[in-house]
Symmetry: C2
Subunit: 362 residues, 2 copies
């Protein structure tokens, strides 16, 4: 495969990717959860089809544009897990005329503007902020939550579907224990919410959607649906957090070696910020990716000295241990596991499967 | 213009952009320098045409793919300012059959592989590392430089054109004085190189290409050509370094406000890492962009408390001073000047001119 690489290429190991999908789908089935996988990581109709093999019917996306792409590829139950952007009311309305569309909202202005600007019906999840401090209402804002539910019940076109939360603070965890602590806190908040609402919890759905908690936890009490996304590929950040092992990472960048500097223990690769993104980790060096090698249908990291040390627009500098440096010469390729597969996949736009032909995104 | 914005949009102020181009072209003419502007920042044939109005004939790009795009748009003298990637020999050969193509090399393997794999002639700049520690030979590696020149002179298809250096360490400067210090050091190294070579310097060309030095310096002794790129738009990083003023920044992101959290002094915008890139600055807060307002055909920063504090894939969180917070409501837009215009423009793919219709990239 690497022999065909002429420029930075995102390899996709189909077997690993399909196992990741199977494992999460199976967990959802076993726990009696609706599985509404997030498509923002792979952004590909072809990869989305692999979810159909697991009987997935409803999906989650992060933009109206992405919803339109998947609707055009036959998906007809889509949640846009992003605060509803009323400036896109006409595109939203068009989508709502074709599919079952669910939006997120956590303020009355959005509810009013949607009700006044849409002609077609949509479902609404009230977004909850369970600790990520990004968007959504806090569980303790009981009055606001009640008022939003009341507002929704008064509308003609908006159906209150339940609550959605992306506990994004789990990405800042640095161990399985820390992830579990966050997950327990999320479950505790959901329990509080249910008690506060004092309405039958059969009337609404609770959906949570982060890869770390969905990967690690076995307890989904009070949760009805999950919508993780990153687990489809995983990456070094997830491995560092403890959500996955290196063997679960399904994508790797393959980049040409274009220069070699033995006195610096460095090679220069064709592969920069416009391919990898500037997301970095520190373990122990600050790096934008780690060099790996292929072993029995999975990637294995080289020593931690061999890391993608810096990026400019199209250049990458890989610092190598002396042993690894000897293995690379100008004209070779080098395989790098990405720090954050969502951003790398978004930049790359296509995948080269380890077997088969190119897979495209929207 | 902002009234038409429904999703994250990269506004381009044509007047500022054309002044930036005019100013740099004029400086090159006054100093008797060849002007080979780098296209990697804007990546657009339409913006490239604005350089033709300044009589620019030769351009610089950062990849074979970008060279092909501009060749298809009528440019026939192109330098690929990136270590020649011999895995793309056949695309390079195809380009070399159509245009005057210049490549960079700083090792003998690349020279040999190019000579053996190309059918058409190309020009070669030997790349010099004048302090960026990215790629190129150090000035003191006199024997290696001489040996490369000899190797080039023995080939049939490669013509030695001279030396190219991107003093990328100027991006780490934090004042005009620091930029000048770096520029003086580059000039000093070039003088040393010329003395070491003891060959008529009429035989070769010296090209340097970084926006900070090209923007600030008036002394280009011993330099024959310049190839800066970022100056076409500039950005907050260049303003921080001292290469430009805020009024010279030609692009700004306009993003819908989708949520507002008064207790946190924050608004959530539609605009994330896949729009801005994760390049950040610290002045005084770590930020991914600064909020601005339009004043008399240019942007002006709001107070430094009002900054793009964090990014996830499609969400941005703007922390606001209390005064500015009052100015934003759900459904409004907010204007953010980018930290690094090259990466933002690469992610965005199209520009919305402050007047006129969309401008596309390759």
């Amino acid at each position: 495969m690497e022999s065909r690489v002429t420029e930075p290429t995102l390899l996709l190991n189909e077997n690993i990717c399909k196992s990741n999908i199977k494992r999460m789908a199976q967990k959802a089935r076993e726990k009696g959860l609706l599985f509404k996988p997030h498509m923002k990581t792979h952004q590909s109709a072809e990869i989305a089809r692999w979810f159909q093999e697991e009987k997935v019917k409803a999906i989650t996306v992060s933009s109206v544009k992405m919803a339109r792409y998947f609707a055009n590829h036959g998906w007809n139950d889509i949640t846009i897990a992003f605060p509803a952007n009323i400036r896109q009311a006409s595109e939203i309305d068009n989508l709502a005329s074709r599919i079952s569309l669910t939006l997120l909202a956590s303020n009355n202005q959005t509810i009013d503007l949607l009700e006044n600007n849409l002609n077609h019906e949509v479902n609404i999840y009230i977004e909850l902020d369970t600790g990520g401090n990004r968007s959504g209402l806090k569980i303790e804002e009981v009055e606001k939550i009640r008022s939003l539910i009341k507002s929704l019940q008064k509308t003609n076109k908006l159906h209150w579907q339940g609550f959605y939360s992306h506990p994004g603070h789990s990405y800042k965890a640095r161990s399985k224990d820390e992830i579990m602590e966050i997950h327990q806190s999320v479950l505790h908040q959901i329990r509080q919410l249910k008690n506060n609402l004092k309405t039958s919890d059969k009337e609404y759905e609770i959906c949570i959607g982060d890869t770390p908690c969905c990967s690690i936890s076995e307890n989904f009490e009070d949760v009805d649906a999950i919508s993780p996304g990153n687990f489809v590929f995983y990456d070094l950040m997830q491995a560092q957090i403890g959500s996955c092992q290196i063997k679960d990472i399904a994508v790797a960048m393959v980049c040409p070696v274009v220069d070699k500097y033995p006195t610096r223990n460095e090679v220069v690769i064709y592969g920069g910020a416009i391919h990898f993104s500037k997301e970095f980790l520190e373990d122990p060096h600050i790096h934008y990716g780690r060099a790996a090698t292929k072993m029995e249908n999975q990637w294995q990291l080289l020593d931690d000295e061999t890391h993608l040390k810096s990026l400019s627009q199209e250049h990458g500098i890989v610092h190598c241990s002396p042993d690894n440096l000897n293995n690379y010469k100008v004209g070779d390729t080098i395989t790098i596991l990405p720090v954050h597969s969502c951003l790398t996949a978004n930049l790359m736009g296509t995948y080269m499967p380890t077997e088969g032909k190119k897979i495209t995104q929207f």
